[in-house]
């Protein structure tokens, strides 16, 4: 990889940036995050480009809290929703808000139309939305990934009265109607602010004479050219993803590895197995929305360096709130960071830290140093307990064949990697609590930005070929094609490999080493009566989340 790769992660407290060239970190930046995300991104960019030739920048990858915050804080653009459903749970239950309407129309599990779409009702609702000044719409059908014609028709009916129409099958390609509804709704609601942000950032890059394309980081730890992003909701939760990719890029992963990103108020936990980070089985949860967004499998525990320390029934407790910065850095409440300062493990105002911890020490009837150690043991305990729960959850993932059940691979990490501000100082306490060696790689304080800079494009594609119906669908590349009776498993393999590479290219893949990996393959006979009418092939293929290069 020639040229300079820039990565910027706009987090809740800090905005971190790095410039990487040939596996070396050329520049680091750490600036406070401001309300205007463009501003702090530019601050970081300015630091990074200081003394570098902007023309040698190959790509700029941004990871921001823009979309996550809009979702969590309820600042999405007012969006209309049209649903078609058919048999099952009453679809009205899944209405994201009162701008939603269920219209007639149904497709079954094999993609056969059961009830045609009620165009009259749809048009009536669309007219009303347009009249109310709504500018973005989501259209979602049950089983639309098996047959998208209802969604396509609804989008057609919406026409150009709306600025953006999110179609379920395009933004959420696997089976899960309620999650598809949420995903399309978020895509439509986040569309405009994301677009404006990308436009502002692209213009700003040009002002810095950076001509390289702007990329965004996705929740699955993959990058994508910002201009080619179909679903802006995919940038939600890119922060935790950036750190996970950073852990990989800093060369700290070896076999089954637990990854810990110790932040201000939370510690994000994720797991590497077989050389790659695990993905959420059903999709990310963002705020109160369960979505189909492909995301790295991370769990957050409410304990970080700046968590408030309390006493509860004579025991030390952490968080879940942050009550301002640590006392050692101008705050008023004691935190684990203050405990580290008291013990001389990090630099800060030791006096203030000790003062803040004193009431806790008194409550525990311990000297301040011993109380500080108790606080850090509690941090370790909280993280270790969350990690154990998370591993249990991972290992309880369902399997559906006898072979898988009997061969079941259990994830058992033999080591952990910690990154984030307090990682190095807190590592011994994590080691004790986890009973695992904890490695803290160099550049642990900007792992997130390193991850953004070096993340690869990754994709996941699902193919369903139903030869009895003569139909093939690959929702992720919007492919819905006729096939004949002789379409074989081998044909399906070739078709899905092509789809993976097409999608990777469309997202801006730079890496010629991208390897298509077919992760699931199922073939079934379709029996009608007592004879074989055809076959159903289902394949899933991907380019795994990964990085372009390791930091030397």
């Amino acid at each position: 990889m020639n040229g300079i790769y820039l990565g910027i992660d706009v987090g809740g407290t800090h905005t971190d940036g790095v410039a990487v060239e040939n596996g070396r970190i050329l520049r680091k930046a750490k600036v406070p995050t401001q309300d205007d995300l463009v501003e702090c991104t530019l601050d970081a960019l300015e630091t990074l480009l200081d003394g570098l030739n902007p023309r040698s920048v190959r790509r700029v990858v941004l990871s921001t809290t823009l979309v996550t915050n809009a979702i969590v804080q309820g600042r999405l653009e007012p969006t209309g929703t049209l649903l078609t459903a058919g048999p099952g749970i009453d679809p009205a239950v899944f209405a994201p808000d009162d701008r939603c309407r269920v219209v007639g129309g149904a497709v079954d599990h094999r993609g056969r139309e059961i009830v045609p779409v009620d165009e009259g009702a749809a048009t009536e609702h669309l007219d009303r939305l347009a009249g109310d000044g709504v500018r973005t719409v989501a259209v979602v059908g049950k089983f639309s990934t098996r047959n998208p014609t209802h969604e396509l028709r609804l989008a057609e009916l919406a026409g150009d009265r709306f600025d953006y129409v999110a179609q379920g099958h395009r933004v959420a390609g696997t089976l899960n109607f309620p999650r598809r509804v949420a995903t399309a709704y978020l895509a439509a609601g986040a569309w405009r602010s994301h677009r404006e942000f990308v436009a502002a950032m692209t213009a700003a890059l040009r002002r810095f004479s950076v001509l390289a394309p702007l990329y965004v980081l996705r929740a699955d730890g993959g990058t994508q050219m910002a201009a080619a992003l179909a679903n802006p909701a995919e940038t939600a939760l890119s922060g935790p993803a950036a750190s996970v990719m950073g852990v990989d890029a800093l060369g700290a992963v070896d076999g089954d590895t637990l990854s810990l990103d110790i932040g201000g108020t939370t510690t994000d936990i994720s797991v590497f197995t077989g050389g790659a980070a695990l993905l959420e089985p059903r999709g990310a949860t963002v705020g109160s929305y369960r979505t189909q967004l492909r995301a790295l499998y991370t769990r957050s525990t409410g304990a970080g360096g700046d968590s408030c320390v309390r006493l509860e029934d004579g025991r030390v407790r952490l968080g879940p709130d942050r009550c301002g910065p640590p006392a050692a850095f101008g705050g008023t409440h004691p935190t684990p960071t203050d405990a580290l300062v008291v013990l001389g493990r990090i630099l800060g105002d030791r006096h203030r830290a000790a003062d803040a911890l004193r009431p806790v020490a008194r409550g525990l009837d311990l000297p301040v140093e011993a109380a500080a150690r108790a606080v850090l043991r509690e941090l370790g305990r909280t993280v270790a307990e969350a990690a154990r729960k998370f591993l249990d959850e991972i290992n309880a993932q369902p399997v559906y064949t006898i072979h898988e059940l009997l061969q079941g691979h259990r994830v058992r990490p033999l080591r952990a990697v910690a990154v984030g501000g307090p990682a190095r100082a807190a590592a011994p306490y994590l080691e004790d609590a986890l009973d695992l060696p904890v490695r803290v790689p160099e550049h642990f304080d900007v792992a997130n930005a390193v991850g953004a800079a070096l993340a690869r494009v990754n994709v996941e594609v699902h193919l369903v070929a139903d030869t009895a119906r003569g139909y093939l669908s690959i929702p992720q590349v919007d492919a819905y094609e006729r096939i004949d009776r002789r379409f074989s498993l081998e044909d399906a393999r070739q078709r899905i490999d092509r789809a993976v590479l097409d999608l990777a290219r469309a997202r801006g893949a730079l890496d010629p080493d991208d390897r298509v990996e077919r992760v699931d393959e199922e073939s079934f006979n379709v029996i009608q009566g007592f004879s074989t009418a055809g076959a159903i092939h289902r394949l899933r293929a991907q380019i795994r989340p990964g990085i372009l290069a390791r930091i030397a």
Binding site: G88, I89, H109, N176, R282, R290, I402, I527
Partner: protein, 444 residues
């Protein structure tokens, strides 16, 4: 936007996508494929309060507690059967452990045609997954567990009936298409239980074409009153789905709405999938309906694409027949003690002979069963079984809750049984959870 289940419900979903009896057999790989699609697309596993549990692999000891396999139990077991039974066990344990209020074992292969003695495959079944679960639960949660099994598969649950024929602590009710018109050809009202469990077996043969209304009539007017009287600790539903109007191998007219309503009224603690071979047109909807009903959620929209209320009707005669059948059976159940006295008198032992056809193996088994009449327990049982008269087996059973008299009767029979008469003699000491065998010759 996120649904919450009023009743915390577990699901063990194990479609065994790599197992079939043979490629075009109704019991084949993709039987639950479309069901999985529907479950996933509905987002059923995302509902708060619906919890998915992986199956366990049942131990051979779990199976041996229920079945005598001949020549040897291991000859008949496969991983698929152990996982299916393990799925049922997992569902039952989660309920008894209090983790969930109800659980649905959506597993295959099925088991309700598997009887105590197993010589081979019959009715797509090898081991009785409900019985293996129940006996596992009794072993691990207390031997006094009072259980009712309500079998709503379209075929008579003759295997489960046989396993519990002499057990006064297990009520077995089978509702099915009349045996004169369907495999296995049994399940008539006069099949009422063994001499010490008379009235603990009830059979409700329904005429072909029975609709939701008829099935629900049986639930309301027979099953629920009997359950109220019996007071089981645990209600198990053998939830076969082949009463569906689209099922290719049966002739009933039940809809997904009917199944959902049945589940809502019956309120089983554990439902276990049995048959059901309309894999595209019924199972996705019926399973969705059952799971939602178990969880206490709305099922009004769970309807087949071609469903219309009032699509199926029955003649006035058929309706009256079902009503009358329920009245007679309820009366018979209430009078079961009196009927027992007149049927068995004060004989010391009761002997029954029967033949069992194994459609999957193409063999016919002969059985002669002798039960010691006992007011205190299920009675000791001596069961002679053979396919060829030169290779007979004797199974001696000391029942779970055994009185001293029955124990010495059984132990004497075990001592007496010589390998000159039998090729295999098995002692099933249920209180000790022990199976012992004497075998003639070198092979098992």
């Amino acid at each position: 936007m996120n649904l919450r289940a009023p009743q915390r419900t577990g699901i063990v979903f194990f479609p065994a996508f790599d197992w079939a009896i043979d490629p075009t057999h109704p019991e084949r790989e993709e039987r639950l494929l479309y069901t999985r699609d529907q479950i996933f697309e509905e987002g059923l596993l995302d509902i708060d309060g619906i919890v998915q549990f992986p199956p366990r692999v049942a131990a051979e000891a779990d199976v041996a507690r229920v079945h005598t396999g001949l020549p040897a139990l291991a000859d008949h077991l496969s991983d698929s059967h152990l996982i299916s039974a393990g799925g049922a066990i997992e569902a039952g344990r989660r309920v008894l452990d209090g983790e969930v209020e109800r659980a649905f074992a959506l597993v295959r292969p099925p088991g309700h045609h598997a009887r105590r003695v197993v010589w081979g495959l019959r009715g797509f079944c090898v081991i009785n997954i409900e019985a293996v679960m129940i006996e596992h639960l009794r072993r691990h949660h207390g031997p006094d567990l009072r259980v009712a099994v309500v079998d709503t598969d379209c075929h008579h649950g003759d295997g489960t009936q046989d396993v519990y024929w002499n057990d006064p602590d297990t009520l077995f009710i089978s509702i099915h298409q009349d045996g004169r018109t369907l495999y296995p050809g049994s399940g008539f009202p006069d099949e009422f239980g063994g001499p010490n469990a008379y009235g603990a077996t009830l059979n409700v043969p329904l005429p072909p074409g029975t609709t939701d209304e008829g099935l629900l009539h049986v639930i309301d007017h027979l099953v629920l009153p009997v359950l109220e009287d019996w007071k089981p600790d645990l209600v198990i539903n053998s939830a076969g789905q082949d009463n569906h109007f689209t099922d290719p191998i049966t002739d009933m007219a039940i809809t997904a709405q009917g199944y959902a309503e049945l589940t809502r009224r019956l309120r089983p603690h554990v439902a276990v999938l049995e048959g059901g071979y309309s894999v595209q047109d019924a199972l996705p909807y019926v399973n969705t309906g059952i799971l939602l009903a178990m969880a206490g959620l709305d099922t009004r929209h769970v309807v087949e694409p071609d469903y219309r209320p009032g699509r199926f009707t029955v003649s006035e005669d058929a309706r009256r027949y079902v009503e009358r059948l329920c009245e007679i059976l309820l009366e018979k159940y209430r009078d079961r003690d009196g009927l027992r006295r007149s049927a068995f008198g004060d004989r010391a032992h009761h002997r029954e002979e029967r033949q069992v056809f194994y459609d999957g193996a193409g063999i016919t088994e002969h059985q002669a069963e002798t039960v010691r009449l006992c007011d205190a327990c299920g009675g000791s049982v001596q069961l002679e079984t053979w396919v060829q008269p030169s290779r007979k087996a004797l199974v001696v059973e000391i029942p779970r809750r055994c009185c001293p008299a029955c124990r010495s009767d059984a132990e004497a029979a075990w001592e007496r049984a010589g390998l000159d008469r039998y090729r295999w003699v098995e002692l099933r000491d249920r209180p000790a959870d022990r199976v012992e065998r004497k075998t003639a010759g070198r092979s098992g």
